[in-house]
Symmetry: C2
Subunit: 383 residues, 2 copies
C-alpha cells in the first residue's frame, strides 16, 4: 500500500459544451485537493483529435502559434496550431477545424459547393517552409466536402478542365475536372511523417462515403448527394493516378469531407486521436508510479469503449496496474456492465435531480464536488 | 487491512416517496453483491421514529401484530404495531400514524375539531392488558390536535364541563371543559417505561406551539388558531393539576398535536427516534468488526446533521472506527462542507440529468448502480 498522500493522474477529455479538458482537470484537482492538500496531482488533459486537441497537447508543453491562411470560404483566417518537441524533431499539431471549421464565421455563409481546404494545404506548406517534417493533424468539425482537393492544390497538385484551364478546388470547380498533374506536388511531403487523428473510418465515396454521410450536415441537399459523390470520385481517381497511390477506398478517406483521402494520398496514416494525444502529452510517464487515475468526458456510454479518450486512458493505466475511475457529465446506465470492465467506478455530475442546463452551467463546481466525494471513499478505504 | 471480502453495514433511512428502508437496503445490497458476491452485508434498515419505524424495527426481528382501535375520526381502524424482545421484557413499538395518521382514510374527512387520539390510548391499554410495560412510540404524521386528551381519557382521565357532564376529548369538546379528574388514570402507567420518538421540540402552546405551527396543515383555520390554542392550554393546565405533573412547557410537548404533552404527562420521555431505532435494531452489534457502512435518506442537507438517521448511523459507526458513506436521493451541495465532517463521501442517485420523477420511479435500480460504483472505488483503493 503506497503512502497516505496519493499520486493521482487526472486525464479527462473535454466536457463538450461546458468545459475544455484543462478546465476539467482544474476542477477535479480542486476537489481532490480538499481531501489531500499535498497530493501529487498530475493533470493530463486529453482529447480525441477533434476540437480541444491543440489545447490539450499544449497544456503539457510546446509552443502555440497562429498562421494566417484561407478559411473554407477563401477569406483569410488566423489559425492556431502548435509545435511540440520530440526526439525525432519538432512536431506540428494542427486542428483542421481551426481553418475550415464548421464554426468558421465565413465558411458556413458560402455554399458547400464553393468551400475548399486550400488553407490546410497552405498551412502545411508554411510549416514545411519552417522546417517541420512531422505533422499530427486532427480531423473533425470541418465544413468542407472538397475531397481534400483544396489542400492538394495548395501543395502543388494541378487541376485542369478539358480545355486545360485551371479548375477551382471546390465541389463546383471539380465538376468540370478533366485532368490532374502531380509533378509539382511538394517534394518535402515525401520526407514527412503525417499522422491523421480521427475516429471516422468511412471510405471516400459511396453510400458510406463522405458526401452521403457527412454532406447533409454541411449543407449538401439530398438531391445533390449522388452527383457530388460522383464528382469527388472522379477527382479521387484522377488524383490517385497522378500521384501513383490509392487511398479513396481506405478506412477514414471520408473523414473531414475527404481530407482523410487527400492526407493519405500524400503519405499520411490514420491513428486513434486519443492514442496520439496520449503519446504527445506523455500520459504513460505520468501514470508511472501513480496510485489512481481519474478520467471522464461529457457523456459516457457504450461508444466510450470504441477508443474514446477515457478508454485509452484506462487501457494505458491498466498496463501499469493503475485503477481508473470515470467521472463524466452523464453515464448511460445501460452501458454500466461494459464500462465496469474497464473503470473502477463510473460517476456523473448531478447531486440530485438536475436539468442538462444545470449540469452544464454548474459543471466546474459539480466536478470538484464529485471528485472530492469519490476521493473521500478512496481515502476511507485506504485507512 | 481486513480481508478482501468486506463486512459492510447497510443502514439507510427510507427514501420518502419512493422506497421504504428495507427496500433501500435490498437495492444497495444488490449493487454491492455485483462487486463482492460473497461480502458479509448486514442490512439494518433505519427510521427516525416516524413513518417506517415499525417496518425498520421488525425487519430485524420481533412480531408484527394488528389491533383494532378508533381512528382519529372515531371509525375503527386496524393498526399495525410490533413487539420486540429485550432483556428487560417485551417492548411494544407503536407508530401513532398507524392510528391517527394524516393518511388515515376517514381521519381527514372529519374536521380537526372532531378528531381525537382516543385510539392511541385504547391501543396502549390493550397492550397493558397483554402485559406490556415498555413502549416506544413514534410520533409524526398525526392528523389530530387534541392535546392528547383522547389518549388520556382512554387511559382513565375524566373530562367534565361546568355541569359535570362528560366532555368529548376533541378540540370541540374541550371548548366546554371545566374540570378534570385523574383518579382512574390507569395505574399500570406508573410501572411502565414510555419512550417517545420524535425530533419535534416545540412546546404545547403559544406561537411555537402545536396549534400555531402544525395546526394549519391539519385544517385549523388561521382565525381559529388563537382560540383553539387557548382551549388546549386550559385543558393542559387542568390535566397537569389533576395528574400532579407539568409537561406543557417541555420541549416536544407540541409534537403530534399535543400527544407529546400527554405522553410526558404519564411519564414518557423524549428521545431521538433514530437513536431509539438504532438501539432496537442492534446497530452497534452490526457495526462491530465492520469495514464500511452505507447510509442514506431521500434528501440530505444541513438538517441531516440534526440527529437524522444517517447522522446517528455515522456517529455510532465513528465510535467503532467504521467509515460511513452517504448515498441519498439528492444531496444539497451547500451542505457538503458540513456533511464531509461526518461522511466518507456523499452521493446521490442520478447518473446524469434527471427529473425528480425519474429518480423516484427508478430509485431501486439507481441505488443499486450507485452503490456498485462506489464499491468499485472502494475495491480499487483496497487492492
Amino acid at each position: 500500500m503506497p503512502a497516505d498522500i496519493p499520486v493521482i493522474v487526472i486525464a479527462p477529455d473535454s466536457f463538450k459544451g461546458s468545459l475544455d479538458a484543462p478546465a476539467v482537470c482544474a476542477a477535479i484537482a480542486q476537489g481532490l485537493a480538499r481531501v489531500w492538500p499535498d497530493a501529487d496531482l498530475r493533470a493530463c488533459p486529453m482529447a480525441d483529435g477533434g476540437e480541444g486537441t491543440l489545447d490539450a497537447v499544449l497544456s503539457r508543453g510546446g509552443t502555440r502559434m497562429t498562421r494566417t491562411v484561407a478559411g473554407a470560404s477563401g477569406v483569410p483566417c488566423s489559425a492556431a496550431c502548435g509545435v511540440v518537441a520530440s526526439a525525432d524533431g519538432p512536431i506540428a499539431v494542427i486542428e483542421i477545424a481551426q481553418v475550415v471549421g464548421i464554426t468558421e464565421p465565413e465558411g458556413m455563409g458560402v455554399p458547400v459547393a464553393e468551400r475548399s481546404t486550400t488553407g490546410i494545404g497552405a498551412l502545411i506548406r508554411q510549416l514545411l517552409d519552417e522546417g517541420i517534417r512531422r505533422f499530427m493533424i486532427g480531423l473533425g468539425g470541418s465544413s468542407t466536402n472538397d475531397g481534400g482537393a483544396g489542400m492538394l492544390t495548395a501543395l502543388g497538385l494541378r487541376l485542369a478542365d478539358a480545355h486545360g484551364r485551371v479548375v477551382a478546388p471546390t465541389p463546383a470547380g471539380l465538376a468540370t475536372l478533366a485532368a490532374i498533374e502531380a509533378a509539382d506536388l511538394d517534394p518535402r511531403l515525401a520526407d514527412s511523417s503525417i499522422t491523421i487523428m480521427s475516429d471516422v473510418n468511412n471510405p471516400l465515396n459511396g453510400e458510406r462515403g463522405a458526401t452521403a454521410i457527412f454532406g447533409p450536415q454541411k449543407g449538401v441537399r439530398a438531391d445533390e448527394v449522388a452527383s457530388l459523390d460522383a464528382t469527388i470520385a472522379r477527382f479521387a481517381a484522377l488524383a490517385e493516378r497522378a500521384v501513383g497511390r490509392s487511398a479513396a477506398a481506405n478506412a477514414g478517406a471520408g473523414a473531414a469531407g475527404g481530407l482523410g483521402f487527400a492526407l493519405q494520398l500524400v503519405g499520411g496514416s490514420f491513428h486513434s486521436g486519443a492514442e496520439v494525444v496520449a503519446g504527445l502529452i506523455g500520459l504513460d510517464a505520468a501514470l508511472a508510479g501513480a496510485d489512481w487515475a481519474l478520467t471522464g468526458e461529457g457523456r459516457s456510454d457504450a461508444q466510450t469503449l470504441l477508443r474514446k479518450a477515457p478508454f485509452v486512458v484506462a487501457e494505458r493505466a491498466r498496463a501499469q496496474r493503475v485503477p481508473v475511475t470515470l467521472l463524466s457529465g452523464a453515464v448511460d446506465a445501460r452501458a454500466l456492465p461494459e464500462l465496469d470492465r474497464v473503470f473502477a467506478g463510473c460517476f456523473a455530475l448531478p447531486a440530485g435531480p438536475a436539468t442538462l442546463a444545470d449540469c452544464i452551467a454548474g459543471a466546474g463546481a459539480l466536478l470538484a464536488d464529485r471528485a472530492e466525494q469519490i476521493a473521500r471513499v478512496w481515502a476511507a478505504a485506504r485507512r
